[in-house]
Structure formats: C-alpha cells, structure tokens
Amino acid sequence: MQTCLSKGGGFHFPPCHVLNVCGFRILFDCPLDLSALTIFSPVPTGYRAVVDEKDSDCQPYSTLDSDCVTWKRQKIGKPLDANDLICAVPWYKIVKYLHLWNVSFIDVVLISSPMGMLGLPFLTRIKGFSAKIYATEVTARLGQLMMEDLVSMHMEFRQFYGPEGSTFPRWMEEEELDLRPSALREVVLGKDGAELGGWMPLYSAADVKHCLQKVQTLRYAEEVCYNGKLVIKAFSSGLEIGTCNWSINGPKRDIAFISSSIFVPAHAMSFDYHALQGKDIVLYSDLSSLDTMEGIEDGYSFLTTDSFSTLSWEESAQSLLNTSEHLEEREKLYYLCSCAADSLKASGSVLIPINRLGTFIQLLEQISASLESSSLKVPIYVISSVAEELLAYTNVIPEWLCKERQEKLFSGEPLFAHVELIKDNKLHVFPTVHSPKLLINWQEPCIVFCPHWCLRLGPVVHLLHRWSGDPNSLLVLESGHDAQLALLPFQPMEMKVLQCSFLSGIKLPKILPLLNVLQPKITLLPEDLRQKVRFTNVNPFSVFHYSENKTLIIPSLKDSSELEIATDLAFQFQWRNLKHENMNITRLKGELHVAHGKHWLHSGNKPSKSNSSKSRPLLHWGTPDLETLLSILSKMGINASVEQGVGVEGSKKACIVHVHDPKKALIEIGDTGTVISAVDENLASLIFEAMDSILDGI
C-alpha cells in the first residue's frame, strides 16, 4: 500500500510518502514547506522600521474596531501589499496530511535529503513516536546544520516579538484569517482548508539535538536490516552531497524509491541507478519535472514509449548519461557570474540568498574565478551561523563526491576552492551580520552569500533592506517560488533581480529510458505525469498512478515468500511420491528464523523424535478400497471379513471389517475416517500400515 502525503514543491520541499511494506509502515522524508514563510512580515530593521510605524495602518492585532474591519475587507480583492503580511513570530508548515496520521504507527523513516529532514524534530518530539530513522551520514550532518541555522535565524523574531504565548496565535483565528487577502488565506489554509493543522511553532535547538540522536546514519550501499525482515540500502541520487535513493528488500518484494536525482552532477556522487535495477516495484518520487513544466511545456512533445521501445538496454543507459544538462548548468553559472560582474563594475553589490549547497559551492568557485580573470578586487562574504562548519565539513567528505573531485584528493589538492579562498583572504566567513569582525572588515561593493531563500529569515533581510534602493545592486533568486510575494516587504525594489532555475531532478525525457534500464515489474508514477509520460501496451511493466492523499493498493507479485532450508535439515527429508499426481512431498519440521530479509529454516536444537525411526504418515486422504485392504491384510497374515452397511452411531455408509485371526480386531471405515480397534499394539499397528498403503498420506 502506498500513500502520497504530499507532492511537495521544488528542491526545498521534497515529496512525502507512506509505504506499507511487509506490514511495516515506512515514511519517506519529512520536509517543511518553508515557502509558506513568505506570508509573514520580516523583522523590521533600522530606519525602515521607524517609518513603517509612523504611517502604519497595520497596527495589526491591537483592536478589531469596525473601521479597521471594513478597511481590511476592501483590501481582500486588491493586490497584496507589505502591510497584508502577518506581523508575528512565524509558525512553520509541515507536510499537509502528516498531522492526520498517528505517528506512533510509523515503523521506519527514510530521509533522502537534508531538505527532507527539516520537519523531523516535529515528529521525534511527539510522545509515542518510536520509528527507526535512517539517513546517510552526510544528510544527517547537513540536515542538522540547516536545522540549527533555522533555529538561530528564528531567534531574531523571538527577540523582536518577545516570547511566544503558549496559546494559538491570533493570526490563525478564523475571524482574523477572514480578513486576510485570499492569496494569503490560501497559503495558511490550503485549497481545501485542511492545512491549518499543519502549522507548528518552531522546534528548539534541544529538539534538533534529540532528533539527531534518533537518526541512524548510513553510508552509501551500507546494508541495514530492520526487524530482520527489511534490508535497507541507500544509494547516491546525485542531487546533493549525501542525498540518496532507497532500496528496500523484503521477503516478498523488493522496492526502489527514487527521489529527485541527477545523473551527472558537478559536485556530488552521481546517481547510482544500477543499484536499483531489477526491483519489483519502483516508487518514482522525482517530481521536479512538474515544477519546470509550465514554462517549457511547448518545447516538449509528449513522450510515448514508442520511440523507446525499440531502444536497446544499452542505448537507454547511454541516453541517460549524456552531458547536455551538465553543460546547461555550467552556462547558467557563467551567465550568473557575468551579471554579477556587471553589477560590481557599476559598484553595486551582489546578494545571493541561495541555500543549495552544491550551487552555492560551485558559484563560489565560479565567481571567484571570474573576479580573478576580470581583476575585480571585491570581497566575498558568507554570512550564516553554520557557514564555517559547513565549509569545513564539505572538505572532509571526499568519498561522497563526484569522480572529478575525488581525483583532486589524489593529486593532493583541496576538494573545493573555498579552502584556498579563505586562506588568501578573498573569502570571509561570518556567523551573523552583527559580528564585530564583519563590521571591521566590511567593504562595498561586495558579494554576499547568506540565507535564507524565502527572504524572511536571516542576514538576507538586513541586506535587502540596505540595498533594495540601489539600482546597481543585484539580487539572485532561485526561480520556482513566488518572487512577487517574497519581495513584497522590500518594495519599492530598485535592485535588479535575477531569477535562475537550477537542475533539480530527472528531466522529463529521461524518465522512460530510466525505467527501461531499471526494468521493474511495477512502476508507481505521480498522477500528474500520466499525460506527460505515456506508455504503450508493450511496456514490460505495469504502471500505477498515485495522487495526493489517496491510498494505492499495489498488487502482490508473489503468493509465497522465499525460504532457505539448512542443508542438514534438507538431508533428513523423507520423500514420498504421490500416487495420482506428479508430486513429491515430505514433511518438514524445524525452527523458522527471520534474518536479513529472508526466512531461514533450521533443524532446531532438539532432534525431533521422528528422525530416528521411520516416521509414519500422520495425515491421510483419499477413499480406501475394501478389496485392496482385504488382500493386503491377508498378505500380512490377517484374516478379515466385511460387514457392510451397519452404521455405528447412525453414521451412514460405514462398513466394518472384522478381524479374528491372529487376534480380534475391528476396522470401521467411514466416509471421512477410519477407526481401528485391536486387542494389542502390534495388530493395531499392522492394520494401520495396511490402511496407510491404500491411502495417500503424509
């Protein structure tokens, strides 16, 4: 059974699923929808804050007098302005339907990326949550840094608004929400109003620590066994350093979970799809192609398997690895660098609030190189509470990087250029905008990398307030989010804004070749891809489409489990050949163990009694033939006579065979059974043998 809890949205908000495997409930990823933060007003800073207060008609929660209400009512239809944003300590939105589940019933949580981990402390702090959490070492570490950063950035709000009350915040009350513009209301409530329950006050640093203690970290291709039944392995997905796809092997099915993946990434280890080959089920959860669809839809013709059905396996595999997308990404970075250089030349500053680690590190390298070549002497600042540790960390994890970076290791170079940049005083790393060192060091124009991309948290807010009026400065944003809403509090914006999209998953044309290579028996695809990826009837696997909050029953492929029998036990088998059918059967008895995703049958500690002597069949079937019985009995030296049709205790059609010689005995043969009654043990057992020989038994 599979349920998609959320399709997510973009790189920072991966999808979330619950999958039922062999009776275990597995949750894939637990992200936060941080784009929802844009409904909050950023912390006012310095000069602007004063101005705001003066002519503010948004003393938001002081009174709800009728004037104010009517005024606000009028605004509902109008375009949003900065005053519509909620001025309060922000709450955070977890996956839509997750709060409807009883988390104590979740057995396993698999985290594919640091982004998929941000909501995890909400789960782990719930009493009764006892699931085993797995993530790669790097994902856990990066996730921890991101969460710690989030907590520390959030502090600014708490300091500004004072400690939160324990009660429900005002802005969530129904009357309040009714007054908000519809666009905002939709972010809060969701389309069907079901998302209100997903809002949570942020976790604490202690929650994060507690959460990390519960995470079991893995390396790529390391095997872990959950409860003896599920063998779980993480394989590189290529999206970021340490991100992964999952392979789950159970006694009855093998499953591959594919999160957003990149075939040939420029920094992380590449997408290891070979390891996911030949699974029974592929749960395809890379929805990145949906996010980029709108803009370029015309460019794509609909894909069908026709063109690929003729492709051989090798050709499919090859088509996956073409490097065009790699080059495309490079060009984007070049363009970005040239835009940055233009701004700097006009003595404007460049603000890059991009939190994607890979993009950030590559941009650092590119920009510093392009500054070097254009002999611009401009400082680069990285401002974030975790930047120093993050940069140090990326340099000690060579085994998680792509081949090219690893080769740097062997030639003795640092893995990333930022090591040298820091050494040469070209790159400066500060924890906050108020750091005394920053104030001493500060030079404009400059290039600043800082969180957070939602433009509501962290150093970016301060710098935007500072530069938003400067037409020469440049703000680099990741596309895919509502930039209008994001920039609302900083209007009027004189600053140039460059929106850039980065590769964040498998592109549409590669889905079919990938599935062709993986050769699953069943593929689970998102409903939204139904129209985009069409399969002809000849495809060798069946396809199911899933959609949000609908449970999909996946048909079982095998009616039996695999079982391994120990050799010593197998040698004890006493085979019997069945009379009517081409069939050999044997009884078996042993101890069943479940280990490592398999069932094992061992002979157990005690040798069973039946092993020593010839075991006698305990179960019989068929209809005994009287004639044969009598002749067999007479061969044994037993004389018997038949008394037909006398029912004992009213049972019909029973017949009785009387034995007088050598001793007295009676055989009562009925429709469903036979009763043997003899004066002594020997005779009884002889008669039993005779019966046994005319019936099938085991």
Binding site: L409, I565, L588, G673
Partner: protein, 647 residues
C-alpha cells in the same frame, strides 16, 4: 562443495600477504604483497600456482587489497602490469596513493633492478575500484564484498566476502584498541564459514601504549633541550601523522617553541589526505574537525635543504622510513656524527637498509657504500608502538565472529601454533596455520531455496506455549537452578515450523501448511484413529482408593460410577511423568489420547473378552490418533494395571 584456501604468502611468516580463496566457483585473491627480505623472485607470491598458463583473468574473479602497506599491495603492479591481470581490483580509497612512495624506495635501493615503473603504478591504480567502509559491493551476481574498519592504518579494512551461502572474512592487519588517531576495528556479527586472520602478535598481550609514547616524548624532549636535532625517518602516511599528533600535543602542553619540520612535499600532501579522510580516523578526531582539525599541525613547518646544517634544535620528519636513500639518508649523514642528536627508528626496517643496520646492535660506524664510512655517535630510539592487535584482540575477534573455521596467517610459526591450540581448546573452533603454497579445504554452507506459503510462515511465527509443572520430587534441588528461583509453573515457547514441502515437476518446491495442503490437492481428509474399550476390575480400583487417596477421598468414597474417572486421573498423574494430563469431567485427555467411561452395553470397540464377573467391571473407552500410538498403549497398560514393572 568446499572452500579452498591457497596461501601464497604470509603463511607461517610475516611478509608478502597473499591468500587465494575459491568458493562456490568464484576465486578471490586477498592482498598481493611483496616480501622485502628478498631481492629475487621470492619476494613476489608464486602466481604460477593460480594459473599454470598465466591466464589470470579467467582464474581469478577479483583481487581485494586490505591496505596500502607494501607487504599487502607491493606485488600488485607487478601482477597487473607484468603478469597481465586485467580483472577488477577492490581497495579502500587511500591505498593507491602510497605505492609511488614505496616505489621510490625500491628504486633507490642499491642493486635493485626496477621491476615496475611509475607508469605501471599509474596504470595499475586506474584499474582500482574504491570501496568505502561498510559499503556492500556486488562484484557480480553471486559475489558480494563489504569492507569493515580495521584500524591498523588509515584506510585499512577487513573484507567480508560472500558467495551464495558461503561467507568468509579476511582481516588483513587490524587493531582492536583505538589509538590517538585511529579507531578500533569494527565488524558486525556475521555468519561465517571461515575467518582468515593475521596473527602477528599471536602470543603477546600488550600493555598500554601510553607508556611507550611517553618514553618517545621524553627522549625527544631531552634531545631538543640539549640543543640537539631529532630525525624521524618515516613513510608519508600513517606513522608520521601519528607521531606528529603526539608531538603537537606535547609541544602545546609543555609550551615548547622548537620548530617541527616536514621534509618533503609528499609528507605535507599526506597530511592533506589525512585531513580529508577524517571518516577513517578515530571518533575523537572526527568530532573536532570543524573547530580544529587534528591534522592541522600548528607547529609544523616546511623544511628546506639549506636548514640541514643550520644551528639550533629542531625535529624533522623525513622520508623514506628505513633511511634507505632519499632525504632521510641525506640528513642522516649530516646529523649522525653528533652525540647531541637523536634518530628514531620505526619498528620494522627491511634488511639491507641503514635503518636495519642501526636496529641490529648499536654500531659506531656504518658503511654507506664501498668507499664511505660514517661515524654514528647520535642516540638511537626505537619506536615500538605497533598497530597490530595482540593475542587477546585476536581471541576476542574469533569469539565474537564464531566462524566455523579459522585460518591463521601473517605470524611466526611457533606462536601461531600456540594460538591455534588456544582457539581450538578454548573456543572449540577448528583452526589451521598453513605454510606458504599450501591449500586448506574446509566445508562450506549451503541452503536450499524454496517458496513458503503465507499460512505456513504465519503459523510458524505464532507462539506455541507449553506449560509444564515442576513435579514435587525435584522441587528441592532444581527449583534453585543457576541461583535463579524456578517457579512452579513453567511456560516455554516451543514454536516449531511444521509443514509439508511439495515438489511438483516443473515448479519450484514450496512449503505449505498442513491445512492448506489438502485444499491444494483438492482431496478430502481421511482420518485414521484408534479406539479401544476395556474393562477395569473394580477390585483393583478399590485398592488404589484405599491406599493412594484414602486421606482425601471422602468425596470419592461415595461409590458410584462418576468417581472412577477422577481416580484414573490421580493414578495417571502419579505414574505418567511429563505428560500434559488434562481432566475435563467427562473425559481425561493426554495429547490426542482421550479416555472416558463407556456406558454402552455393547461397544463396538470392546474387543477384549469381558471378565467373567461383569458386574464388577467398569468399561472405559479410549481413542487416539497415530501420533500418540506409543503413549496411548502405555497409558492403557497403566490403566489395565498389567505392566507396573516396566513403568
């Protein structure tokens, strides 16, 4: 089928490690080392034993290298480039970088003809597939390998190898106690047919390393205080970093300002590897990487050739480790004549090197070559902390893994024999210590793979509780078993998987539950039971009544037919030990055997001739199924009072 284990090197010796294991049709070479004690063909393993005609690609499935020490990897370039092996080679990421370091040493050794070139090494390393700790690598459909952390040196691994149902572990060199920069070896509890372990310290129990570390630091400190120079010849990776961490720590503590130098770029480069391969180091080093990387040596500076004869104390790390040439020899020539200076020597130096000469006694003169002689007046300190496990560590590992068989390699013959005896006598595990070029065959595990129905699996996993009461006789001594109080009623979960294995032509064998089986066949069950109706002489029963139950039989003395059954129950309980006897009022049940009062005048199962005096006989009717045949007749004989003697 058997696992064949051909020892090509390190059999009853410490030197070129090389073991070829054949299991279930796969053939894996573990390590491919070089013996530094020899200069001729004997320094390489005898590869001709793998394939007579040199067709190694067919003969071997893959090569697995545990770590980069020359006695484990040294012959690899020769094997791939000269012998022409082209198959896959697996090792951890760090191993390749070291070969070049060693090659220089080999070339610089006098009279040494070059067996392989730099290009050979580069080519060889291109064939290498890097393996990460705990990564499970599927070499082909049947062969799986997995590396475990060995702690011997940076990047050292033990390898778990599985083909079909057979599995072995080859340890390479390992260390069971964590040290300053490396952790202790770590492995899962695995089901193994064979463990091939090193046994360098087969009989030694090592004391703490800290004492010897302190000795080293004291010697160095004394030397530099006296204005002397300390030369530490090392190879680029491993020992150099370990010693440097020691010195850094000490310098910090003692607030020393005397410079520590690293001679060549290579050593600095090696430090770089260390910094980046934090995941291979000990937990302590790992935790501090972002605040202060333990390999970021603050006191360490680069050394310049011109500084050799500069005045003042200093500490210098120089390669190569055995003073066999290169920079360490150059410095040695300058510093050895002064009594103020100190030279430290590694635990092992190849024969023929200056290091080796210095180790054997304390010579005052050393022949550098035919014409030059060097006065050696400096102090010499031999380092003796070793990254090999000791005997206790080996025993711990063997006990932990509990393999079916152990093979010892990489040790000295008499000590190995002692350890072999211990493993057999203390752990009961068969153990061998083959010499070079010997083959050991051990049986391998196999399983038969079948399908199993859900009902069978479910029923087998259901608990099957068995209640048994302690009988009163053994109460006194056995209720206090193992210091634990045994309760009256004992509950055991005796779950057993019982089913029927069905093999149909053209189909996979499958296990089904008994209940499913007939459904599968479409047949009806035909139940065969036994019945027996017999009289019991009431006189006999009266006896029992008067003797056994007299005290508590007030109720029973109200004579009547209803009292016979309880009496039988008491009798059975007394005389049938161990059976689970239940009394249901109308009948007594033991397993499938049941007995009840027969009130019929003519019971069809009353085969036995009735006793003459009918009025005094009471008839009992029994029924049972074949499973309890023996039990049933035993009970009947008890009840009929015929066979007291045999019970």
């Amino acid at each position: 089928m058997a696992i064949e284990c051909l020892v090509l090197g390190a059999g009853q010796q410490v030197g070129k490690s090389c073991v070829v294991v054949s299991m279930n049709g796969k053939r894996i070479m573990f390590d491919c080392g070089m013996d530094m004690a020899y200069h001729d063909h004997r320094r390489h393993p005898d590869f001709s034993r793998i394939s007579e005609y040199g067709d190694f690609d067919k003969a071997l499935t893959c090569i697995v290298i545990t770590h980069f020490h020359l006695d484990h990897i040294g012959a690899l370039p020769y094997f791939t480039e000269v012998c022409g092996y082209r198959g896959p080679i697996y090792m951890t990421a760090l191993a390749p970088s070291m070969l070049e370091d060693y090659r220089k040493v080999m070339v610089e050794r006098r009279g040494e003809e070059e067996q392989f070139t730099s290009e050979h090494i580069v080519e060889c390393m291109k064939k290498v597939i890097a393996v990460d700790v705990k990564q499970t690598v599927q070499v082909d459909k049947d062969l799986m390998i997995r590396a475990y952390y060995a702690g011997h040196v940076l990047g050292a691994a033990m390898f778990y190898t599985k083909v079909g149902d057979s599995a072995i572990v080859y340890t390479g060199d390992y260390n069971m106690t964590p040290d300053r920069h490396l952790g202790a070896a770590q492995i899962d509890r695995l089901q193994l047919d064979l463990l091939i372990t090193e046994s360098t310290y087969a009989t030694t129990i090592r004391d703490s390393k800290y004492g010897r570390e302190a000795e080293f630091l004291k010697a160095v400190h004394k030397c530099v205080l006296g204005g002397g120079k300390v030369l530490i010849p090392t190879f680029a990776l491993g020992r150099a970093q370990e010693l440097c961490i020691l010195l850094e720590d000490y310098w910090e503590r003692m607030n020393l300002k005397i410079p520590i130098y690293f001679s060549s770029g290579l050593t600095m480069q090696a430090n770089m590897y260390y910094k980046m391969l934090i995941s291979w180091t000990s937990q302590k080093v790992k935790e501090t990487y972002s605040t202060r990387n333990a390999f970021d040596f603050k006191h360490v500076l680069n050394f310049d050739r011109s500084m050799i004869s500069a005045p003042g104390p200093c500490v210098l790390f120089a390669t190569p480790g055995w003073i066999s040439g290169g920079f360490s020899l150059e410095v040695f020539k300058q510093w050895a004549p002064s009594e103020m200076n100190l030279i430290t020597l590694p635990g092992y130096c190849a024969a023929g090197t200056i290091g080796h000469k210095l180790m054997s006694g304390k010579p005052s003169k050393i022949d550098l070559d035919k014409d030059t002689q060097l006065d050696v007046r400096c102090q010499i300190h031999q380092l003796s902390f070793s990254p090999h496990t000791d005997a206790k560590g080996i025993m711990d590992l063997v006990k932990f893994l509990s393999p079916k068989h152990v093979i010892l390699v990489h040790g000295e013959k008499p000590k190995m024999a002692t350890l072999k005896g211990r493993i057999y006598s203390e752990l009961g595990i068969r153990c061998d210590d083959p010499a070079n070029n010997e083959t050991v065959c051990i049986p391998s595990t196999h399983h038969v793979e079948v399908g199993a129905s859900n009902t069978f699996i479910r029923s087998s996993l259901n608990p099957n509780f068995n209640f048994s009461k302690m009988s009163s006789e053994d109460e006194s001594d056995s209720r206090l078993k193992d210091g634990k109080f045994m309760p009256w009623l004992q509950v055991k979960d005796e779950r057993a998987a019982e089913g029927i294995l069905v093999e149909e032509k053209g189909k996979r064998a499958k296990i089904v539950h008994l209940d499913e089986f007939l459904l599968m066949l479409g047949e009806k069950k035909h139940d065969i039971r036994f019945a027996y109706c017999f009289p019991i002489n009431t006189d006999n029963l009266e006896d029992t009544k008067s003797t056994d139950v007299s005290s508590s039989s007030n109720a029973l003395s109200v004579s009547g037919r209803s009292s016979w059954l309880p009496m039988l129950y008491i009798k059975l309980s007394d005389e049938l030990s161990g059976g689970n006897i239940q009394y249901f009022g109308e009948q007594i049940q033991v397993e499938s055997f049941s007995v009840s009062l027969c009130l019929k005048d003519r019971c069809p199962y009353r085969i036995v001739d009735s006793p003459p005096n009918k009025c005094e006989a009471v008839f009992f009717c029994c029924a049972w199924s074949i499973a309890d045949e023996k039990l049933a007749w035993k009970i009947i004989s008890i009840l009929e009072n015929r066979n007291y003697g045999t019970l």
